[in-house]
Symmetry: C2
Subunit: 343 residues, 2 copies
Amino acid sequence: MSAEQSPPTLRDVAARAGVSPMTVSRVLRDHPRVTERTRERVLAAVDALGYRRNELARNLRLGRTSGLVGLVVTNLANPFYSQLALGVEAIAGERGLKVVLGNTAEDVQRERRLVEEFAARRVDGLIVVPAGADHSHLTSSRLGRLPVVLAARPPSNIAADCVLVDDFGGAREATARLIAHGAIRPGFLGLPLSAWTGSERFRGFCVALDEAGLTLDERYVRRNQRTIATAEAAALQVLSLPDPPDAFFCANSRNTLGAFRAISASGSRPALAGFDDFEMADVLGLPLIVVAYDPEELGRQAARLLLDRIDREPGAADSPPRRIVIPTTVVEYGMAEQPAVRG
Amino acid sequence: MSAEQSPPTLRDVAARAGVSPMTVSRVLRDHPRVTERTRERVLAAVDALGYRRNELARNLRLGRTSGLVGLVVTNLANPFYSQLALGVEAIAGERGLKVVLGNTAEDVQRERRLVEEFAARRVDGLIVVPAGADHSHLTSSRLGRLPVVLAARPPSNIAADCVLVDDFGGAREATARLIAHGAIRPGFLGLPLSAWTGSERFRGFCVALDEAGLTLDERYVRRNQRTIATAEAAALQVLSLPDPPDAFFCANSRNTLGAFRAISASGSRPALAGFDDFEMADVLGLPLIVVAYDPEELGRQAARLLLDRIDREPGAADSPPRRIVIPTTVVEYGMAEQPAVRG
DNA sequence: TTGTACGCGTTATCAA
DNA sequence: TTGATAACGCGTACAA
């Protein structure tokens, strides 16, 4: 008894059942016009051989689709993107599509390679969190009319569907809450303006100040913290000013945590707000306002946009790109019910 | 000018370049025996048509491999599994393999379906975090000799490679540290014993007590908390005993955070240790011992085991299953340098 | 009801 | 150096 080198094929099943490959194919596809007798014989052979249909060959015969959706993210270790992936997987799975993963680590070269490879594998569509500013390699037309949806960051110099978080609205609303609770000199801890979220969240912060008739003190703004440690240092710097801010809005959770540490260490008690909710936000023991949203929903919506494109007739005229904005909600942990009296 | 319905094929390129499909194939594969002239003509046609080789058809012709690794996890939203996925992607990517994703949500039925579908797609191998206790559907032989590696949980009634975290050793070491810091009546907050990690971490806890000559007080053990809130409630219950524990070992981060909240609220100050490090562990402001490890390394090792199997000659005899255990390290946040005097 | 011939896009083999 | 032919595993059209 020799070891099976490769999986049995439809022909093997046919030979064993004493019928033609075509008959086996029909049985497997539940074709109606098959005798119960032959049907049983075929199924018995299938069982005996452990036969499993080769979906690759099947798809090749059926057309160009691979039944795969390519998902390219910048950093899967970031819970934001892994939840996004989960949302994509859920919606794609409903249609029988599987998700192929690519991680770029914010490397544009790697993104280009991944996109090329996915196109070569004839994925049905692509969902991309773009790493760089130039998206010209992501145009649907340049990829053989492959449907493309951008996630978390907007298309810069191309036309493409995209799904975004309401970075601006969330930052504005959270800042407004800070102000409603009495802040009159809020500071900002954030990301470089070159990052989409960095600029949008800063814009929201500024607009909220403006709407409240407050003016921004540039000395309270620090924008290059990518770790909790650097965020803490930046917050401490700002807090040591002769007239420190009475609140912080932080553009992401690392800055929020850094600010939290700085505040815990210092004597003052500025109010704190930040973008991104996290599991232990209510554990910190300090009043905190966070901007929450559902990353999984981002993935679901991206997948839906993509499926819409995939379902279109290939010959149909290109429809205009769509943009979906995922709403944010502001959550207050341990804040006083009564807003403090404004100065 | 009519819209291209489907991507151009090798034949299209051949026609445009005025050569045979075979010649185009050779050019694309950098076959040496091609004239520079024809080579240029072909490449020009490739460029003009935006041709991209169909890897699906190529793989079909070349053999059974799809160049895909199936990764089946229980919950991608859990950072542990998304980091695992990242590790798998990194190692698989080095070999030019892509990763297809499947999320089971701990549903065994879904796991079975996913594994079947991946096998039908002729993935080169499978890495699975098994959801249930019965793994009979994951035997390599039953899947057409498809290589299978289990991750995070050991094979129960089958022979298969696997990669595990040192749950036992980590729990034992962290508990020993608690004891070294003066604990003599530690409590345990954890998961049901039915979960692999639940039983292993509890075992480590018990052995550490035993080695220190301490006896376990069953009243200090709570084992069914799956959320921070229930963990907090359980910890409060135990703390309200007439003679409460002087320390807690928590089997995962949710229990650690629940215990943290309970401790913050109560007057007593039991020492705290827990499995799983988390980004803000050092932000909590309470002394804390955590068991840390690298989930990404788990993924990398799983991928390496899988590649080993894939690289073997198909006819070769089955080699015995291998088991790799990822080491843990114990980290102390804000613990006193001098261990307290033991009673 | 079942089988034959051919094609999907690519490559190995052999001939020209 | 290049091209014709067959084949990978499967499905459709048509014939038997």
